[in-house]
Subunit: 245 residues, 2 copies
């Protein structure tokens, strides 16, 4: 329909990167694009840490569960929800009590996600590849210490950025009727679509590059929900000042 | 640098829409683009409710704090974090206990945000306008009841979609050094930039279309943090099954 829509529909995560650095003007365009994302009440309640230091990237790769591409990509971005800067912003006005509420946690988390997604799209439009790294939430306190994050800032996810050195096939998504509802939620609209998707994903997983595996979406999801539950997040966040009241 | 980056950098929220409907093929392309957004472990833990019913849009406009454009846009999208479908997905595998954790709340909230941002970009690439509506969290229980949302689903934000009937000027964002850090967080990198941004935003607010107002970012943020705190979100979410443990 147009080049932007084609680009969005070509997206797949990249986990193997060339060593080539990212030219500075391109990197600037990526961050500028991130900054233009929508933000709740113009709060801009996020920050991004660009990690280029090899030792820090290596440590982050380990902390994220030994994901080698975190060390191998030329720039690893850590997208943070940031209420600390908002607190600083209020100082000329006599300061403000930042509520430790679930609501403002949602605002800052969503702001970080929207900015990050704009960055990812800008990057892909320039021929770069990306992968989101939720694994930094395996060890969020160590990640925060390594990056010197102050109170009221937490790392939501990481993102590898670099020139792709692989051409992975695209994983199929759920049929549209499984995620789109009209005027109200209707689960009967998607009950049958789960079986259909299980077959599609099974075919993809069997035939994908780099080794097939016999599984289904249901199998993957049941296994995923039983592992890697990161039950430390609540106390970690409280430690950063996000009490989710 | 290219058309996609230009598009991302042209973004501004639209709050006045023409009555023209959105052609079905364009709407489909928008939702398809949303579905291609990154998603944590392929969980696709979001749903979107397309509200086209006039009465429902009118009610939602009131629930969102009397935002007329919610009723006036041809399609109002409600982006939901959705773990209910994941629960259904696990049924063929003997079911799964969905942890009521902060971690999975983050996953589902971020999944919804990433999909929504792709939809917004696709829409803008087709000449449509959008505005995110956090106001649906003013009355999230009533919104959930109106849309028949089941347990483990919550409305993160809404989004008006339609052809723009205004040409608003673009609000400036923080200087880049205020949001971008290298290899570690450094607040001295942005302390002075807040004063600079206060002046920029003051100029924008004084001269913007539709009536000027003498304010600064610091003033706006201090006022914003004192009002509309939505302290009901924690108990509302617990009621939906998100206990944030």
């Amino acid at each position: 329909m147009n080049e932007t829509i084609a680009l969005l529909n070509r997206h797949r995560s990249i986990r193997k990167f060339k060593a080539d650095p990212i030219p500075e003007d391109r990197f600037t365009a990526i961050i500028q694009s991130a900054q233009r994302a929508p933000t709740s009440s113009n709060m801009q309640a996020y920050s991004v840490i660009a990690v280029t230091d090899s030792d820090k990237k290596k440590t982050l790769a380990e902390l994220a569960g030994n994901q080698a591409y975190v060390a191998e990509c030329p720039v690893f971005l850590v997208w943070c929800a940031d209420l600390y800067r908002l607190k600083a912003a209020c100082e000329p006005e006599g300061g403000a009590d930042i509520p430790a509420s679930t609501e403002i946690f949602i605002i800052a988390t969503v702001d970080a996600a929207l900015a990050a997604q704009n960055a990812a799209i800008a990057a892909e439009s320039l021929g770069l590849g990306t992968v989101f790294i939720g694994g930094i939430r395996n060890n969020p306190q160590q990640v925060s210490d390594l990056l010197g994050l102050p109170e009221l800032v937490y790392p939501v996810f990481g993102m590898c950025l670099g020139y792709p050195d692989e051409e992975p096939t695209q994983r199929p998504r759920l049929p549209m009727r499984a995620v789109l509802h009209y005027n109200g939620y209707s689960d009967h609209a998607y009950r049958d679509s789960i079986a259909e998707y299980n077959e599609q994903l099974r075919h993809y997983m069997l035939t994908r590059k780099g080794g097939g595996r016999d599984t289904t979406w249901s199998k993957e999801m049941a296994a995923r929900l039983r592992t890697n539950r990161r039950l430390h997040m609540k106390s970690f966040l409280a430690n950063r000042g996000f009490f989710l009241e």
